[in-house]
Subunit: 344 residues, 4 copies
């Protein structure tokens, strides 16, 4: 099975390379960039003597003809138009950007402040939240791979939202992310001297994953009201933690909530619901495709605190993309993703 990757100069693309290089079924046929044609290790010396491929210009026809699947690891605003081209050809496609996720007219422009992709591609793309959308992913031709924050938040919220035991107006998601999420763009706020020993809130009530999270929550439970979602930049390279606060609408205690989550994820190999009084730290999932979840109901307030952690480049991007690709091609979803967390 041959795959092509577009956008291998970014961190998402390079993570796809790391996974796919050892994947037993998918073979990296070609890698592409809009930059000059250089050998990949010229840009990423850690690949020296391991991957000698050149990054090629994007030839839509050739890629569609020679490959079975294309990954778009390009930024939002770029992916959209590339997706249109590939959609017009006969090739499966997984887009890691936000360009194919928002289905309601006007939402993309409002939150991304960019020109949206063609509506038929957007509507045709299946939202690739692997654990909760399996059926449709298996049959999908195009996948809109979920955002990193959205993945952590949605996996954390799914059981209580679907069970309808949360006050619909009470959802608050305090997001915390490492800097690789911002990619390799040259901006002052990504400089080491600005990020290190610092902690910063950004895009307050304006983060573009807000409508993505709400869209999926409403699909599960149409009564859900607007959420509060804030995002913080943490001085780590990889990792996202979503600390989620919801008011439980019925009298659910720790034990019942725990059971609900254990049951919800009993068949999900990448979601680990921690035992009572055990909360995940990001380092415990980083470099892997796991999403770990910790839970606590405070009897003083009736509020549930959900702690959900992922590696933003794995379960939040490349890892989930490969998980989805596995499903699209009828493989076991864990194929090629059996990494253990690097610790410490």
């Amino acid at each position: 099975m041959k795959v092509s990757i577009i956008g291998t100069t970014g961190y998402g693309g390079i993570e796809l390379l790391r996974i796919l290089h050892n994947h037993p079924v998918f073979e990296i046929h070609s890698i592409h960039s809009t930059k000059d044609e250089v050998t990949i290790w010229d840009e990423y010396p850690h690949l020296y003597n391991i991957i000698d491929k050149k990054m090629e210009k994007i030839d839509f026809d050739r890629i569609a003809e020679e490959s079975d699947l294309v990954f778009l690891a390009t930024p939002s605003g770029v992916s959209g138009s590339l997706a249109g081209e590939f959609a017009a050809r006969d090739i499966k496609m997984i887009d890691l950007s936000g360009d194919l996720r928002l289905k309601t007219e006007g939402e993309y422009e409002k939150w991304y402040k960019k020109t949206p992709a063609k509506d038929e591609v957007v509507q045709g793309a299946v939202y690739g939240l692997s654990e909760w959308n399996m059926e449709r992913i298996r049959d999908a031709k195009w996948i809109a791979n979920p955002g990193c924050y959205a993945t952590a938040a949605l996996l954390g919220l799914a059981p209580v939202i679907k069970e309808n035991i949360v006050e619909p107006w009470s959802i608050i998601i305090d997001g915390k992310s490492g800097t690789s999420g911002a990619g390799k763009s040259l901006v002052h706020t990504s400089l080491f001297a600005e990020v290190n020993e610092n902690l910063r809130i950004y895009k307050v009530n304006e983060h573009q994953h807000t409508p993505e999270i709400e869209q999926q929550l409403k699909e599960w439970n149409s009564g859900i009201r607007p959420i509060t979602f804030s995002t913080h930049l943490i001085p780590i390279t990889r990792g996202i933690m979503a600390t989620i606060y919801v008011q439980l609408s019925e009298n659910w205690d720790n034990k019942r909530v725990m059971e609900l989550y254990k049951e919800s994820y009993q068949d999900a190999p990448f979601v680990r619901v921690r035992p009572e009084n055990n909360y995940p730290a990001v380092k415990e999932v980083v470099t892997t495709n796991y999403c770990d979840i910790g839970l606590n109901v405070d009897e003083r307030t009736g509020r549930l605190t959900i702690v959900s952690v992922i590696d933003n480049l794995m379960k939040g991007a490349a890892g989930q993309a490969v998980q989805n690709a596995n499903m699209m091609f009828g493989l076991d979803q864990t194929t090629g993703l059996g990494f253990l967390p690097v610790y410490p």
Copy 2:
């Protein structure tokens, strides 16, 4: 004016030394530790050739006789009994631990799981939240210096709580702290290899600053209900951010909230309310006594997000202690605290 410091082997004590060494009025008379008598730079080589004082055993009588003020920079559980001794002698005292803060019977035992200090000392100690308790601090003999998280949270919440425009059950404080707050104790969770590149939630719904925050909120507004307060360990040495979410009970927009805060803190030299759309990062206050506050009302939800940042060792400990000492001795509250933030 002579001062003595108890507990100079900890990070709070060493920060007191840094401030007081250049203070124009207070003079460090003696420093004390329960450890062996060694020169301070033996333990802290950064003080080599600057401070040559020896750490002395604690002689209550001599300290009370020779000094005008004693700072207790000892841990919770230790401060309490020392405070009893000094309270029995004629000397002013500022305790940086949590031992003199909780006034309601049983609360200290419940949250700290330790033996409380003598009730008369606890009741006699004024809560040293400098900006909001000035009158009583000026006349105080004993000060219970506020906790680091509590300071960030309370300064962030005070204006809306006192104005009574918050739904009383809606207060959620997502706290994020650097590791110096945990002090120099040798525990695995403080090792570099465990903290670095990691992000961890701890004491979920169990943090001992919870009752301290609630006690003060209720003093301002008796209707306040139990809060949700969570704490996260961030891989930075200094700094706390409290991201606070409250449901506004009336129709207050960004502009009115901003005005309320600007007015509330117009005479507070150490509280900087940021302009609209400008949010503080911890590095912008670290090494100083500032508390910076950013505000945003989300019209979609009617929720106010308050971002409050401090240096946990300064405004969250030693800095506020000196600010209080200044007030106790009739000095300008900023005396000796005019540091600019070290940046980057």
Copy 3:
């Protein structure tokens, strides 16, 4: 092929687990610790739902009977006596500590300041520098796995030392290491607040890898004189860089030196000699078994600068141990070690 690991509570042991869990030939039969018998994920939650093994007490007879190979991931001073016990039984053994490395009488006591292991075990243990000692490793029963600094330094120096083109008194190794090398011991110098934003030299002219490096250099070239070796603690979790300075004794330029290294390591899958003007950074090898080498001859001084980087827990410990195990059992040396570097 069954293996047992002693010392799985340390970072070396846990890294062995990470590698061996996915190894196609070796199967982890049992894990052991001197601590209480707990499930491994109790101590290391990142292994939750992945490895459910309990750490067992050390039963020498049973291990020797049931396993084909035992890894000692125990600290220097502990390994020595365990090694004696296993040596008395019929089982292959790889010791990751320094206890079996120094062959000259008195050297171990002098540099480690501990009681040495039995001389027959020390003398019988083959020094496991994989690339340069293959023949003996293949036939070995006991392996003294090299130290992390020693591995980086020796792989960097081997070609010029063996070629005898270095002034024998001119070897200076400036070592820089992350903190995982110090293990999980609770010491103040390993606390986050002490390591972070800091840089420290330690054991100046006293590091215990000095005699290990000299012993091997002299085996290659008996004229080698005492080296200068200094070690610095860098605020990173993993990674070692050895910057090595040697005076070239003949008129060798960059090009000839580069050719010598390329040739020396042409059959070494884990040593990557970088092209001219390309120098390795530690992040480019971390999480893998690679040792990357960069070279520069300064014509102004006739001095060669060698930059050698490894992951101290992989090529500097567990990775090389598995590489050696592969060779001992006739497998390809790369078996189970085909990780790509995690980047960024």
Copy 4:
């Protein structure tokens, strides 16, 4: 005494602001930038409500007329031409860049690969290594402030070079620096995700401080031969360590060397020679103007290891600039520089 600062958008300029804001004699008259005229806290929010000055365009005549001293905190290549303009007017000047340091024709072009400043300005500028050039600094009109690496290296080497007890060809300086030295330039190698958890050697045998160090060493001791100087990027914001290796030409032991250094620096308030077996860490000087030095003679090799640490933005830039300014205006050299190190 009025001062102007050119280049306040850079880290060196902002550090000058931090020092001078509290300086008892110098008053910041104006701050200048080549960028748009914005209030300084717009660029650096940590100065909000503290410094409200606007950055102004550079008007040479007005600055020369209104100020007594101008600091050039502009990059190499920019300072040179500005310096020419100010030199033509009647104003004292301290240049923090490398543009006025190298006195030998052709050296600047060779190492900086830029157009040099006017020769009369270069020759007229006194090299501002405060501790060793006091007489000339006091009488100087123009100061070439030393480079950060050069300061650490030269203060570490001065005593043994002047005493002529070092083999003239044996000087090796292994430099390690935090990232603030690279300034705020937007380059990939300064991104958090690239610097964090990494360690990189750069400009191998090509660093532009090499000729600066050699020029001063030769002034002290004309027999000095070319040095080896390498530089490494460490994931810290501030701080430089120079680990220096020299072959002692005579039979000097630890004690004699220690005495030589203690004596050499007995009148230098900012140089702290550590006691035997005590080595400085960068965090012990960061945020201050101290240079701390540790020493060790290895009897096995006759080599002296010198460890010299500074804060690159203080003693390596703005701090030493103010120290020099103090001397130029007849003040005590420590005026306004009495900071204690921030620790931890």
